[in-house]
Amino acid sequence: MNFNLHIVSSDRIFYQGECESLIVPTNDGLVGILANHSNVIMALIPGQLQYRRPNQKDEYCSIGSGMIKVENNDVLVLIDTIERPDEIDEKRARLAVAKAKEELLQKRSMQEYHMAQAHLQRALSRLKVKSH
């Protein structure tokens, strides 16, 4: 059983087509979606998205925040960024982790704190995806 999957990020349409299984990160942990899932709208947090095209291996991507909508076997994932492992620069991600951690230690404005936190989250998820 397959369902239709659209993954749209702010700079491109990432994937459109059939999908067998999809796992996304939410505030309550990872959520798996298979065909005939009940209709739901969920908020997504930065992390690792995993999807499997019919009769193929799992693929991993690093995503930013956004939402997912499941409507009658039609799944729409809307996120601000998405990256395949081969698009991730591991060295850069490592540097970003170090930089974000350092920024978190300094006492600065709330906005900068949140930005640093988001950076850290994104960089960590990139590293995780890369390690697969």
Binding site: V8, S9, S10, D11, R12, I13, T26, N27, D28, V31, S38, N39, V40, I41, M42, A43, L44, I45, S65, G66, M67, K69, E71, N72, L76, L78, I79, D80, M110, Q111, H114, M115
Partner: protein
């Protein structure tokens, strides 16, 4: 009448200027194409996001969120307004900069307590010169808009908005309606107008929301706003390049016209000079001939 040398100098300087305007024209057209391509890539995301927010709204029209006007409609909100003004970094783009600045000044006049956030060097200098206070630390260029920059701008604005320092946020930008026409626009970004999101009515499937409707909405908002700011930036950038292209095009044509006039004048002066020289020479020759003839006549007499 000017001498040929002067006219020649003038022609050369016009030619040099034309080279510059022509180069600027070409640069603008390639930049425009690039920016347009990028905008096309982000359009689907933006459209989907807008659609989903609308959908959420229809599901829960009485949802309370500080992103929306209080449901007892349209009581005016008093307090500091924020205004994101998108100008170009440089001039030489026809009336492009002045159009948006005019809109922003109208806004300022209507509501004195407005903080200006200016993108682009031209706008910043304009307000600095007139001693109109703008947000000093807000330094963003208008060239080659990226999603990252839009996200930063939106996080700055949202942060102020969430803290309650800004009551409303306007965006003043230039919209390109088609490849010829562009228009300066004022758009209220926040708070949202409830009804704007509730226009069309469709029969909806029921959704479950996780963790809650409000949280989904709030996680969607920043990307929507960043998306809107990004498309406003790109739209303005495209309009700027377009305005510059047409300005440079007319400058080119103007230079062409001046050149043809100057060439005509140059040729006239040159011809006049040649004619004068010929007259002088022939007059001199004739005088010499007459003299010789006289001498010969005198010699014969003797």
């Amino acid at each position: 009448m000017a001498s040929t040398k002067e006219i020649k100098n003038h022609i050369n300087s016009v030619k040099d200027t034309q080279k510059i305007t022509n180069a600027m024209y070409l640069i603008s057209s390639t930049k425009l194409q690039k920016a347009k391509r990028e905008l096309d890539h982000t359009r689907p995301f933006f459209n989907y996001t807008q659609k989903e927010i609308k959908r959420i709204f229809r599901r829960a029209p009485d949802l309370q969120s500080h992103y929306f006007y209080p449901s007892k409609e349209e009581e005016p909100l008093n307090g500091t307004y924020g205004c994101l003004l998108i100008t170009a970094d440089k001039g030489l783009a026809g009336a492009y900069n002045l159009n948006v600045i005019k809109k922003a000044e109208e806004l300022l006049e209507k509501h004195k307590d407005t903080k200006l956030f200016v993108v682009g060097e031209y706008g910043r200098r304009y307000f600095m010169k007139r001693n109109i206070p703008i947000e000093q630390s807000f330094l963003y260029t208008a060239v080659n808009p990226t999603m990252d920059r839009a996200r930063e701008i939106s996080s700055i604005l949202l942060n102020l908005y969430d803290k309650g320092e800004l009551e409303k946020i306007y965006v003043v930008y230039t919209d390109m309606e088609n490849s010829i026409e562009e228009e300066a626009r004022v758009f209220r970004l926040l708070p949202f107008h409830r009804f704007e999101f509730m226009k069309e009515d469709e029969i909806e499937t029921d959704f479950e929301f996780a963790p809650s409707l409000k949280e989904v909405l709030e996680s969607l908002m920043p990307s929507y706003i960043a998306g809107f700011i990004y498309s406003a930036l790109v739209d303005s950038f495209c309009s700027e390049q377009n305005a510059r292209m047409s300005a440079m095009n007319s400058a080119n044509q103007n230079a062409e016209k001046i050149l043809s006039q100057l060439k005509m004048e140059y040729n006239r002066v040159r011809q006049a000079q040649i004619t004068q020289e010929i007259t002088e020479i022939s007059a001199g020759a004739k005088a010499q001939r007459d003299k010789r003839k006289k001498k010969e006549a005198q010699n014969e007499h003797r």
